[in-house]
Subunit: 356 residues, 2 copies
DNA sequence: CCTGTCGTTGTGAGCGATCACATGGTTGAT
DNA sequence: ATCAACCATGTGATCGCTCACAACGACAGG
């Protein structure tokens, strides 16, 4: 397009027609430049909001951009600058409520500034994780977010090249990277203290796998709360987040008459426990008080409605993005943000039998 | 570059050392070429598995690649070829089980061939959807997958440029694009016929919002199954997928004594119904039989364990990727794949009161 | 021995942006 | 009036790769 009056009959450039173009995607920066009657560099300046462009020129360029429906090529820009607007997110291939909510929260927080690409790993072991992050680095992404709730992730991430802004979510602070995490321990404390406040003295815990940092933190919070109340913690029942494991734990608990309350490390295990109690004809919360963790959308509709601990995943996503932006813009340091959970009180906890 | 033995002491180019390099990402194709003693074009041929390269040369190049830990720059390749290995997925920002499982299934199916980038939309209206797809096209993605379970998506996608391979998932066939979808209607039939087989004659349905294609399909299947059995369908109760809406529907149903069975359009609404029945002291399945849809992981632990319809989201993801590959490779046509659901029988359905 | 074809490799020109630097016109201070 | 400083703009190189085409040698057929 464009060809001024001077060379109207000269040899045609590759891009002839204005709209339909054979080879590539859309119009290029030179097309805009020609239409606006400026150099490609001036167009580039307008695109990048460089201050030293006369307002009048700016508007001419903007008009040309609009007329041609021009969109700058990310590939070319990446090639020229050596950095891109793509964010890599590494997460685990699971439909667990936590990780998948986190992903959505992150995506939401990144909108418009960045393009988010996701790699889901079958297992979060060191090798797979390192490889995934390396691949992102090779692709010259602007930054990487690793959702790393597993212990195994910690060590793998320690010896990663420093080349790229990176934020861990739900990981452990000692990796030396920027980190956003939920205060699992505080959440567990909230849950346990809620049960303590009803007078329960024998509060059991069904945990997640001990390979999960979330799990470890919740165990610690539970134990700490009990100890602070001068109560020695009963043995730990380890589950695997699945309702099935909660169900098994429920059957186990049913055989322990002195257990009047249980804190489950997630809502789905709590559901398993509830199910077991239903089967055995135990009444809740009268015979067993239960507190869960996560506040999945359906928790309010369990029978009894589950008292649980809520995490604001959207907030976590926002914090992570903020930390990442800081690093991208100013090469900032490895700070750490902790998001506090909140107790959601419903019907699944009450005073123990003896108290009534 | 090039510096043969001749100018070894000449002025150093930007990239001096083999491994550590200041400016950009890693070694470039020319570095590999130099080390292997061939031209950059030969390296390119090896990278792209061009047939006419002598085996010996090939190996030399491969060795050089390995030694330098060279990774080709996606940006440069995209710029040069005009196409990339990035897949754009457009979905809705929800943590609903279906959409999010779909996303994971898709990601899994794409692994290694493509990089998947996700755009989550707050609402799937025409404008937002079109814009998201356009943005992907501007970025010269290799293909686009749209998870479009809403009616509103249908029209928006009809008048989209043909420039890019595109596959709809969970959309409607009349958009004229390639499509992978679950046979919602057949699933609903399965559920309804299961209830019919117990002798139920008065089978109600709690549907999803009528803006969802899934929802519409399930309603149709339910009605069709009833009509085939010579039973006029009772009025439809419309929910919104949430357990809360199921709960309300449950209370409504409780007032209708002749309703002996209900088919809920998803498991979480089924949970809401169950919850309402618990509250009202109705026994399930004796007083009300329930069948759900989705088979969420926790459905087996509802009380009663939920009979439901399962969709294989991994399969859907695979099919979508396959369709997309066909289009990318051969510019193929707009074929359509339908995945069949399966009934998962558990405890929430039994014969109606009168039959016992 | 000349010529044509094929397999293998190299050369140079893009792709579409940015960056470093050069240029020319205004200003304001000397 | 002179010079520096600054603004607005343009020029050409460059990023790392692929593409089109050229070049070269080997080997066949006339």
């Amino acid at each position: 397009m464009r060809e001024t009056e001077l060379d109207q009959n000269g040899p045609r450039r590759r891009r002839a027609g204005a709209a339909a173009r054979p080879g590539r995607g859309g119009p290029a920066i030179t097309d805009v430049a020609r239409l606006a009657g400026v150099s490609h560099q001036t167009v580039s300046r307008v695109l990048n909001e460089h201050p030293n462009v006369r307002e009048q020129t700016r508007l001419r360029v903007l008009a040309a951009i609009k007329e041609l429906d021009y969109h700058p090529s990310g590939a070319a820009r990446t090639l020229a600058t050596g950095r891109s607007t793509v964010l890599g997110v590494v997460t685990q291939n699971s439909t667990l409520f936590g990780p998948s909510s986190l992903l959505f929260g992150l995506e939401q927080a990144a909108t418009s500034d960045f393009d988010v690409t996701v790699t889901t790993l079958r297992s979060l072991d060191g090798i797979a994780l390192t490889r995934a992050v390396r691949r992102y680095i090779d692709q010259q992404v602007a930054g990487v977010v690793v959702i790393a709730p597993l212990v195994t992730a910690r060590d793998a991430l320690a010896d990663l090249p420093e080349r790229v802004p990176i934020v861990l979510v739900d990981g452990s602070p000692d990796a030396g990277k920027a980190l956003v995490t939920a205060d699992q321990s505080a959440g567990a404390r909230l849950a346990t203290e809620h049960l303590l406040s009803f007078g329960h003295r024998n509060i059991w815990h069904v945990s997640g796998p001990n390979t999960w940092l979330d799990s470890i933190g919740r165990v610690e919070g539970w134990q700490a709360a009990l100890r602070d109340a001068g109560i020695p913690p009963p043995p730990l029942i380890e589950g695997d987040w699945s309702p099935a494991s909660g169900y098994r734990a429920g059957h186990l608990l049913a055989r322990i008459p002195e257990a009047t309350a249980v804190f489950a490390a997630n809502d789905h295990m709590a559901l398993g426990i509830i199910r077991a109690m239903h089967e055995l004809g135990r009444r809740m919360p009268e015979e067993l008080s239960i507190v869960g963790f996560d506040d999945v959308p359906e928790a309010a509709f369990f029978s009894p409605a589950l008292t649980t601990v809520r995490l604001d995943f959207t907030e976590i996503g926002h914090q992570a993005m903020q930390l990442l932006r800081e690093q991208i813009e100013s090469g900032g340091s490895a700070s750490c943000r902790v998001v506090q959970p909140a107790l959601v009180v419903r019907d699944s906890a009450t005073a123990p039998p003896g108290d009534r």
